[in-house]
């Protein structure tokens, strides 16, 4: 590492410029806000990105504008704030003491009881209010997926979101709208200044500015911890007390950003968040797109990346089975080479992936679906939203003109130490007529593909039975039958 790196990070906090150096790479945004700045409106409820009491907004440059998104400050590292505008609950009330319309709606509709979750909920509703006009109840619920409230039962909070949406942001008076251009300019200036290396007694925090920088850093420090959304690594610190230095934060690396449409498929940069990718993914792979709102809460989706989901190789990651069923490629880069691995081959065994320590995931390539392809994704969890998968099935099917199985990929998560395909079942189906009796009998051999575990999410028996039944659901739905719950079937509320 050489002296060309900046030794401090720069960002904006509630409109004020901040420069920080010498901080621990493990320092979370929440601890910094509460302990250092004494901004105690953001609360710690779980320190794992599940309850949302710590929710703040982070504004980042996107197409020349500042896009404000909710994040969990409890699992985000301070170093990752470089080049952003951090907005906390303390920034909402106007200088003359008037409550913000979102806050006023929460008060008017009795949306708080104990009040501990409330600042986080207000921030989630605030981001929704800023970014969406007249959100549907489904969108409001999605915006609140990452916020737990134990007192109200949520009804008044949802109504407050609706009431607040009756007032639209005044582009001249609403601070985050009125200042957008000037903040964007200030953030662009920070971004232009290149890479950052912050050293402290507790290790270093590196922010490369381009992919070559990252590759050479990883070449020199193969044991560095790579952080994108920190929705996993954050917990290594808050829950396990682990040392993670040196940390390399890949968020700002432009080559790892963006979703591009290529001739054979789409390419998703490793540092693209779920929220940024969902539009393009939904357009091309609707079943994959429909899964994304069931991964974490909105805060987690604003931080977390598909690249990270793949790189960490969790057996219960939601996207790997999908990528396997879609026959995606993982592109790995190092300072020496770039190579491509089939998603299916990337996961070797529990805790082991086909990735060298100095390599990193650069992008993921997903081939477009052929016209005859049927593709579905089903996730089962104890709670529908913001829960970790018990069983996930991602199924790809092509039939020939005689209705025989021409190609099939049945990938499961939660069924083994790695996400993997049900090869025995696939073989039993390949070349066969796509009929219920055939599917049922093939599905019975799922037990030879998987011997799942029992844990707090599900028993082995349930996992196997549900995995089998998901295949049946896939069959029925491929025939146009209703075989899963219709959300919002009631058509609105009274």
């Amino acid at each position: 590492m050489n002296s060309q790196h900046d030794a401090k990070i720069r960002f904006i906090l509630n409109g004020q410029d901040v420069e920080l150096s010498g901080f621990s790479p493990r320092l979370t945004v929440l601890d910094w806000l509460r302990l250092d700045r004494r901004l105690t409106g953001s609360k710690e409820g779980c320190a794992e990105g599940d309850c949302g009491a710590c929710t703040i907004l982070v504004g980042r440059l996107e197409n020349g504008r500042v896009l404000y998104e909710t994040v969990n400050s409890c699992i985000r590292f301070v170093g990752t704030l470089h080049g952003t505008h951090v907005v906390t609950i303390e920034h909402l009330k106007s200088t003359d003491g008037r409550l913000h319309p979102v806050q006023q709606a929460m008060v008017d509709l009795h949306g708080s009881q104990c009040g501990f979750c409330t600042p986080g909920i207000v921030m989630s509703l605030y981001a929704l209010w800023l970014n969406e006009e007249k959100p549907s109840r489904e969108r409001i619920e999605q915006a609140l997926q990452g916020n737990l409230c134990r007192c109200t039962g949520y009804e008044p909070i949802v109504k407050a979101a609706e009431k607040a949406s009756e007032i639209r942001p005044d582009p001249l008076a609403e601070p985050l709208c009125a200042t957008n251009d000037s903040i964007a300019g200030r953030l662009a200036a920070i971004r232009a200044s290149g890479s950052v290396l912050v050293r402290s007694e507790e290790g270093s925090f590196f922010i490369p500015s381009h992919v070559g920088d990252l590759a050479s850093f990883m070449g020199e420090h193969p044991h560095a911890t790579m952080v994108a959304g920190s929705t996993d690594v954050g917990l290594w610190v808050t829950k396990l007390g682990r040392r993670i230095d040196p940390v390399v934060y890949i968020g700002p690396v432009s080559e790892l950003q963006g979703v591009s449409h290529e001739e054979t498929g789409i390419r998703i940069g490793a540092a693209v968040s779920y929220s940024s990718a969902i539009g393009e993914i939904t357009a091309r792979f609707p079943a994959f797109g429909a899964l994304i709102p069931r991964i974490g809460g909105e805060q987690v989706r604003n931080m977390g990346t598909i690249g990270g989901n793949v790189a960490n190789g969790s057996p219960i990651g939601d996207t790997p089975p999908v990528l396997i069923a879609l026959d995606a490629d993982i592109v790995l880069r190092s300072h020496e080479a770039v190579r491509s691995v089939k998603a299916e081959d990337y996961f070797i065994e529990y805790g082991k992936q086909d990735r060298q320590r100095h390599e990193f995931v650069e992008s993921i390539h997903i081939p477009y679906l052929s016209e005859e392809a049927v593709f579905s994704v089903y996730k089962i969890s104890k709670r529908r939203d913001e829960d970790i998968t018990a069983v996930l099935g991602a199924f790809y099917l092509e039939l020939d003109k005689h209705h025989r199985v021409n190609a099939i990929r049945l990938a499961y998560g939660g069924m083994a130490g790695i996400p993997k395909r049900a090869r025995t079942v696939e073989n039993a189906l390949l070349g066969q007529f796509w009929r219920e009796d055939v599917v049922r009998s093939a599905a019975d051999s799922l037990g030879s593909d998987f011997q799942p575990l029992t844990d707090w999410r599900a028993t082995a028996d349930y996992r196997l039975l549900a995995a089998r039944n998901l295949l049946l659901r896939f069959y029925l739905e491929s025939r146009g039958e209703q075989a899963s719950l219709v959300r919002f079937a009631a058509g609105g509320r009274q």
Binding site: R38, L39, T40, G41, S42, K43, G45, C46, A47, E48, D50, I89, E90, L92, L99, M106, V107, H110, S112, Q113, C114, G115, F116, T118, Q142, L144, Q145, N147, L148, C149, R150, C151, T152, G153, Y154, E155, K239, G241, I380, K382, R383, R384, D385, D387, W456, L465, A466, N469, L470, L472, R473, L476, E481, Q482, A483, S484, L485, V486, R487, R493
Partner: protein, 778 residues
């Protein structure tokens, strides 16, 4: 003076029964409401962390704390030997709940030592460095294992008995018996436990604690430090949720921080992280209910015999009264002619289970409703019909007598259920659902209407007392303090309304102040839904005392009869004069009128003889009912709540907005208990669902797709409660049972409703699917 009259409004800003907003709402939404972790600490404050066992049951052979002590920044390590007083924080003083384990570990994650360091991070990191040597013992985390190992009861069981149940069972035309498992529940208050102790002179110590029971914190700190209670002052301004989880469970954090603060002469904060909080603090009791019932061909209950076994954890804590309350509610709203109910509070190697909204009552009600369901499926009629046939009579006859020999005198369940049945269009929807299920292969629906009757009062009669302290200052502003604590339920708001209404002043004239043992002593926990009943009355009493003095003063000063003195909105009428409240108060001060009073209240009429199982433990009952409609996926067991309608009785509501919030929140929390909230221990006895990533409370998207909640506006408490209101905290929790029963009906559809599915709780997707499979394989 009279000129000012014209500006007075005809009504004060927030009279009793009006929808005043929560007193802290504007601070909640701005982040300006301070919780204990937000308070600035005195200079040099230190932080505490817990050292936990990693065995469920073992003798401690040795503990090596040298690495903990050697960690840079560590100031003190406390073990059981450092406790000057008595190493017991159990509320019963049975010597069964050590603050720090000394010789024996009784559950996985039990606290053995505590570390004080310069920062929270250092303390936590150091706490992980202890080296334990154990001699393992066989452990029992669940009831079946505990019975197999012959584990004792943690406290005396209760028997409720009327008539001769065995003869009645023998004589009954039909009988059935069964068993039900009901899971526990983690409170998941959003603010985890916390205490800050600040040392004072001599033996004094001040403790800020997130507790529902400041007086008990005071006693426990005194007990641990071996000092008198007068040396300990406890403050609680607000909790970030309690739900019963902060009734006794805060003792350990308060006592240890106080002990360290006195030793180090510095302020000490103890805030466990979420995982430690969930491992270290008790939960709702899991129950195993064995029931037997006799009934006639119309489904009228003739006899009920049931045993309620509870997973109590390693100590008694509140397990005695919790299991008692399960029995008190095993009848729910139904008359049992001959009955025998027994409790079995079993010891287990788990954290000691504790109070949780409903306090055993919900488990009793779920057991009672299972019996109704069984009878309905056995006879082949809608469970609602069986419910109606078994409701307590409205008045007079012997069909009003509970298993504990209290007469139900205020029964309104028939009216509640009838109104709800009509307003929710129950019958037509049920028919439609049966039709739908006949035609639908994979998706099935269910609907259920379940009632609630809940007894209000602490069953330990002495707890039914409360105090309040009211001052009026010379400028006419009013200082309000009472023994109740604020955990989000709006108690402070309601009691302030009582006071404002009594003095006829605008609400902003009343300042609500933090609950503290120094102002109102010997308080009971804010629990058993009793907060506003007790503290509202105590504040009312204080106000009456001051008013009586003011009446006498005015009558004398202006020479009018007392009947000519009247508190009008923001003014006092004395004969022909109307005097603004502040001026009136100032004159009273000048005339040396005592403008401060300590109010007191004790609930009348109640008495309870536990040994006999007879008495009147409850002052009155609160009622309610809910109808829920659900859909299930019979391939995966996934489900959703399509619609819920609720009609709930809070008497004449002190604040309908706050009460409706309690009803909605309680319903969703009750639904969570019965659906997705599952506690899971591994084979080593370790709780593996110890954070929100693994323990799933309801989200916004889990609430019913259509949610209609109404208060029974016509209801008034027959008893002389404050404003004729009724308690609201706990009763609506049991409205969630309609969801469990609706799920059960949807499952039953796969066997054409001929078999009771016997769905255990929580009804996770897995339990739904397995119940479907069981019925299909018959």
């Amino acid at each position: 003076m009279n000129k000012m009259d014209v500006i007075f409004r005809e009504e004060i800003s927030a009279p009793l029964h009006s929808e005043l907003k929560h007193d802290s709402a504007h601070k909640h939404v701005t982040g300006e409401a301070d919780y204990i972790d937000d308070m600035p600490l005195p200079e040099g404050a230190l932080h505490m962390a817990a050292g936990l066992s990693d065995r469920a049951h073992a003798h401690i052979v040795s503990i090596d704390l040298s690495e903990v002590e050697a960690t840079e920044g560590v100031r003190l390590v406390l073990t059981a030997r450092d406790i000057p007083g008595h190493n017991d924080i159990g509320p019963n003083h049975r010597d069964d709940e050590p603050l720090l384990a000394e010789k024996k570990i009784e559950f996985h994650g039990q606290m053995v030592f505590a570390v004080v360091a310069d920062t929270r991070e250092i303390a936590r990191a150091a706490a992980r460095k202890a080296k334990f040597e154990y001699e393992d013992l066989p452990h029992a985390t669940d009831l079946t294992d505990a019975r197999a190992l012959g584990y004792p009861l943690v406290t005396d069981p209760l028997t409720l008995k009327r008539g001769d149940v065995d003869s009645a069972l023998k004589a009954a035309p039909r009988t059935l018996k069964g068993q039900m498992r009901i899971g526990g529940q983690e409170h998941f208050y959003l603010e985890s436990h916390i205490a800050v102790a600040i040392p004072g002179e001599d033996d004094e110590v001040t403790v800020w604690s997130s507790t529902q029971h400041p007086s008990e914190i005071q006693h426990m700190v005194a007990n641990i430090l071996d000092i008198p209670s007068h040396a300990v002052t406890v403050f609680t301004r607000r909790m970030g949720g309690g739900f019963g989880g902060k009734e006794t469970q805060g003792n350990q954090f308060a006592a240890l921080s106080a002990l360290a603060a006195k030793r180090l002469k510095r302020a000490v904060k103890f805030r466990p992280d979420r995982d430690e909080d969930m491992s270290l603090t008790g939960k709702r009791h899991d129950f195993l209910v064995d029931y037997e019932t006799g009934f006639d061909d119309e489904g009228r209950i003739l006899a009920v015999k049931a045993n309620f076994a509870a997973r109590c954890g390693f100590s008694s804590d509140l397990s005695g009264p919790v299991t008692d309350r399960a029995l008190f509610h095993a009848d729910n709203a139904y008359y049992y002619p001959d009955v025998l109910l027994t409790s079995e509070p079993i010891k287990t190697n788990t954290v000691s289970n504790t109070a949780f909204r409903g306090f055993g009552g919900p488990q009793g009600v779920v057991g009672g409703e299972r019996i109704i369901e069984e009878i309905a499926y056995a006879i082949g009629v809608d469970p609602l019909e069986i419910r109606k046939r078994n409701f307590y009579a409205i008045d007079g006859d012997e069909r009003c007598l509970t298993p504990y020999h209290q007469k139900v005198e205020d029964n309104i369940i028939q009216r509640i259920v009838d109104e709800l049945e009509r307003s929710s269009d129950y019958q037509a929807r049920r028919e439609e659902i049966v039709r739908f299920n006949r035609a639908s292969r994979i998706i099935r629906k269910g609907i259920a209407l379940t009632p609630v009757k809940f007894g209000i009062s602490f069953t330990f009669t002495p707890f039914n007392q409360a105090g309040a302290l009211v001052h009026i200052y010379q400028d006419g502003s009013i200082h309000l303090n009472h023994g109740g604590t604020e955990m989000g339920q709006g108690l402070y708001t309601k009691v302030a309304q009582v006071l404002a209404d009594e003095f006829q002043v605008d609400i902003d004239r009343v300042k609500i102040t933090a609950t503290t043992t120094g102002k109102v002593p010997n308080t009971s926990a804010t629990a058993a839904s009793s907060g506003s009943d007790l503290n509202g009355m105590a504040a009312y009493d204080a106000a009456r005392q001051i008013k009586d003095r003011l009446f006498a003063f005015a009558a004398e000063k202006w020479g009018v009869p007392v009947s000519q003195v009247e508190f009008l909105p923001n003014r006092v009428r004395v004969g022909e004069h109307e005097i603004p409240f502040p001026h009136f108060v100032k004159q009273a001060y000048m005339a040396r009128v005592h403008l401060s009073a300590a109010g007191f209240y004790k609930t009348p009429k109640i008495h309870w003889d536990r040994a006999k199982g007879q008495g009147r433990p409850f002052f009155y009952y609160a009622y309610g009912a809910s109808v829920s409609e659900v859909s299930i996926d019979t391939l995966t067991g996934e489900y959703q709540i399509e619609r819920t309608d609720i009609l709930h009785d809070v008497g004449k509501s002190l604040n309908p907005a706050i009460d409706k919030g309690q009803v909605e929140g309680a319903f969703v929390q009750g639904t969570g208990w019965l659906t997705t909230e599952e506690l899971w221990w591994d084979s080593k006895g370790r709780l593996r669902t110890h954070a929100p990533s693994t323990y799933k409370i309801p989200l916004a998207s889990d609430r019913p797709r259509i949610f209609n909640v109404k208060l029974a506006e016509w209801s008034e408490n027959r008893e002389m409660t404050i404003g004729r209101s009724k308690a609201v905290g706990e009763p609506p929790f049991m409205l969630g049972i309609s969801v469990l029963e609706a799920l059960s009906m949807a499952v039953a559809s796969v066997a054409d409703y001929k078999v009771c599915p016997r769905l255990d709780a929580p009804a996770t997707p897995e339990r739904i699917l397995m119940a479907v499979e069981k019925l299909r394989s018959r």
